[in-house]
């Protein structure tokens, strides 16, 4: 290894020099001829072998700080002042050309979204080999052998085959493993992991974080873990830095920050984090204890949903013999990972899919027998709220038009009546009347999701299907929306069908739960029963994968890191 720099020598692990030391960093973005400062006076350090979590909500400046550290700010971004020291060398003033020599070799990146972070028209092998080629590590066959070795190291089966495949042939978790292989290829001193698991299912998330932990132990690499999930930070970091509006709120050893947060903001984050809030933050719900009450809002019996694959005559069974019932006025959660059939089940209940076999009764109506006009009428009783509040609202409509539209599709009402209904429902979801004239882009994510809920409720449905309705929101906003949903349920006697991959959130909001795995029902019952006595190995795995459970063992992991 011949490099111009002496950053990252094996001894650095033992030395007292931090792998990364950011001092009084200020970053600004230039837009419309003006500089907007988004990171103010941030200082932090990451020692060799240590994981430091950079925690905050969207817009807190955590990603900008991480991008500045690796010299990859957007075109209009600029480090205004402060220092960025990598193994003691200040790289903040370096030109891009000089930074190229250390990126990938001394400092590397595990990106957020594995699906779009690999070049779709190059093979996996080429993309792993690239980092070795750029830094001139070996020749043809040598590189090939190293690529296979790396792919095997990050836990990919059949590495020779993977090397020849293209990104779209691999799952999200496998792609993230490939990106990790690229990040560790040259044993860098520092890895910046920018929300490395936010886009992955919870069990995959756990495996990927385990892998990063393992590699950190093996190579003594420092990790700057950027995350919005306090649960992940609690499990995986030695120290936590909490950011809000580009300023450090507090920082310190993870167990200390979690046990005795000093800033109000950290306390709020902690109380809102579903995975950390076990028992502390449970929405109180009224339950009448009469088991004889057979008033079911939704009955699903032996639901089967086949899809025909176009190429051959083959069919794919997305939902395989699922049954459950939902009592009126309660919340039933359908939990599973991507591909478990949870969304397909929801679509069948709303009447978007015709079931291959089985029976679905919603509010006394057999959905499978409906078609045409009666199906359209039926949609008044059951409404959907989607995951992505950015994509589910028409950007050209005003908020008034968005909420009014469902009314226009059903019985004609005079305009004054519609206005009254829209205003009343807006009030219900806790939005000011002033937003009615605005367009979706002028609203925050939480406000948009409130609009989506208002749009669903304006028809006065009896049942609401919430398809990952809070998954795209920051924890504090998520907590607000969950509270709103609970209030609405109590006030309007609504029945919720809550589709989610997040068991922690499910525990907060649901009364009963069905756990799906590969289209089959593997567990069901009241939420607490399922949590206390999971009936299947899969449910146990799901529960174990919820981040934020390692608090108890934290002392041990802190010992591995550098002492403060």
């Amino acid at each position: 290894m011949s490099t111009a720099l002496n950053i990252n020598s094996p001894t650095s692990r033992l030395s007292n020099v931090p792998a990364l030391e950011i001092g009084n960093l200020a970053v600004s973005y230039r837009s419309h001829g003006e500089d907007h400062r988004v990171v103010h006076d941030v200082s932090l350090e990451v020692r060799p072998g240590e994981v430091v979590a950079l925690v905050g909500e969207s817009g807190s400046g955590k990603t900008t700080t991480a991008q500045a550290a690796i010299g990859l700010l957007a075109q209009n971004g600029r480090v205004e002042s402060g220092s960025i020291r990598l193994n003691g060398t200040d790289i903040s003033g370096w030109p891009q050309k000089r930074l190229d020599s250390i990126r990938g070799s001394k400092i590397s990146l595990i990106p957020q979204d594995p699906t779009s972070s690999l070049n779709p028209v190059k093979t996996i092998g080429e993309q792993v080999a690239e980092v070795l080629q750029i830094h001139r590590q070996g020749r043809g066959t040598e590189i090939e052998a190293r690529v296979i070795e790396l792919l095997a190291r990050v836990g990919l089966s059949q590495p020779e085959l993977r090397a020849k495949q293209y990104p779209h042939e691999l799952s999200g978790g496998m792609r993230q493993r490939v990106l990790i292989a690229i990040a560790i290829a040259l044993k860098p001193a520092l890895i910046i992991a920018d929300e490395p698991t936010s886009a992955l299912d919870v069990t995959v998330q756990k495996r990927i974080l385990d892998l990063i932990d393992e590699l950190r132990d093996e190579y003594g690499t420092a990790v700057l873990l950027v995350t919005h999930d306090l649960g992940v930070a609690a499990d995986r970091s030695n120290r936590i830095v909490v950011l809000k509006n580009g300023r450090v709120q507090e920082q310190g050893p993870t167990d200390e920050v979690l046990a005795a947060p000093r800033s109000d903001y950290t306390r709020k984050l902690l109380s809102d984090a579903p995975s950390l809030g076990k028992g502390r933050y449970v929405i109180s719900r009224v339950k009448d204890g009469s088991p004889a009450d057979a008033d079911h809002a939704v009955i699903v019996e032996n639901l089967v949903q086949d899809f025909h694959l176009s190429a051959r005559r083959a069919t794919f069974r997305a939902v395989d013999d699922i049954s459950f019932t939902v009592r009126r006025g309660t919340t039933h959660a359908i939990v599973g990972e991507s591909g478990s059939g949870k969304t397909t089940t929801a679509r069948s209940i709303v009447g978007f899919n015709k079931p291959s076999s089985g029976r679905i009764v919603v509010d006394g109506i057999d959905v499978t027998s409906l078609s045409g006009e009666s199906l359209r009428r039926f949609r008044k009783t059951i409404q959907l709220v989607y995951q992505n509040p950015f994509a589910s609202l028409d950007p050209r409509q005003t908020i008034f038009q968005v909420i009014e539209e469902p009314l226009l599709n059903f019985d004609p009402l005079p305009r004054e009546e519609r206005v009254r209904k829209v205003e009343a429902i807006l009030d219900r979801v806790g939005l000011p009347q002033a937003v009615l004239a605005r367009k979706p882009h002028a609203l925050s994510g939480g406000q948009r999701q409130r609009v989506a809920i208002a749009r669903a409720l304006v028809l006065e449905p009896k049942i609401l299907v919430l398809d990952e309705a809070v998954s795209a929101l920051d924890v504090t906003v998520q907590a607000q929306i969950l509270r709103l949903l609970d209030e609405l349920q109590q006030a309007l006697g609504l029945t919720y069908l809550f589709i989610s991959h997040d068991l922690a959130v499910v525990r907060q909001i649901s009364d009963t739960v069905s756990v799906l795995h590969n289209g089959r029902l593997v567990d069901e019952g009241p939420v607490e029963d399922v949590f206390q006595n999971p009936g299947s190995a899969y449910t146990r795995e799901l529960i174990a994968a919820i981040p934020g459970q390692r608090n108890a063992f934290l002392e041990n992991s802190v010992l591995n890191g550098a002492s403060q």
Binding site: L72, I102, P111, P120, E130, E169, A311
Partner: protein
Amino acid sequence: MSRYVIGRIGQALVVLWAAFTVSFILLQALPGDAILIKFLNPELGLGPEQIADIRASYAADTPLWSQYLHTIANFLTGRFGYSVQAGVPVSALLLANLPPTLWLATFGFLLAVILAISISFVSVLLPLPRLRAFFHSIPSLFISTPVFWLGILLIQVFSFQLKLIPVISPGPWEVLVLPVLTLAVPISAPLAQVLMRNIDHVLTEPFVAVARAKGASHGWVVWKHVAKNAVLPTLTIGGILFGELLAGAVVTEAVFGLNGIGSLTQHAVSSQDIAVLQALVVFSAAAFVLINLTVDLLYPIFDPRLRIQKGAVA
């Protein structure tokens, strides 16, 4: 052959049939009559009976549907009829005029692609922001340039002022230089615009950030990651622009006084030579369909995501 290929070929045949039918109806609906224009000329001194004979030999007075069926059957067996004006088979006219246009179109298209690619990539690779902005604005200039004006301007500058290319009896290659340039410039513009937009878009993709994080220089990123991803979607535009190429050839051949499909079209229109026009429309449609079919079939070769997966591993 895969279902995809069969489907594409089926669509191509439907397009051809539609082009034939629509042009047939339009040409019949036109006022005027090629036979009368030619043979009613008093200098020929033909009597009404003789003209009626000639009309009968062209089957000009049979009902429209019978003419339609007759023509389509002839086209299917490769008989395109006779030109009323020239009095020779239409196929002979097409064959005679095809080679010069084919050369013009091929070189014009190649030059357009080279121009578009150079302008687009130079505009992202140049170190100076002002130079980049200048190159970025070139396509808008090109796109608003009329073909006839550009042709005349080029003749004026290169032939009359600089005297680089003789106007009278130029060599076999010299004759092509200016027409090819005239044809290429306006076609390169939309290609370059789409390419630039694609490059800008691909540069914001997360995989580009990952490549930068590997230590790749700007040039490496552009050539190894951006180029292929940005060029792929322009294949479609390239196919569509082929239509522009045919339209451009008509004007270019007129301006430079060249023989070819363009000038043949121009003459056939002015003399309402319906048989020739009908064959030209079908020929152009066939060429267009063939180019676009080729583009569709080429995609899976360049883009691994479009390949049919054989026994993919889950």
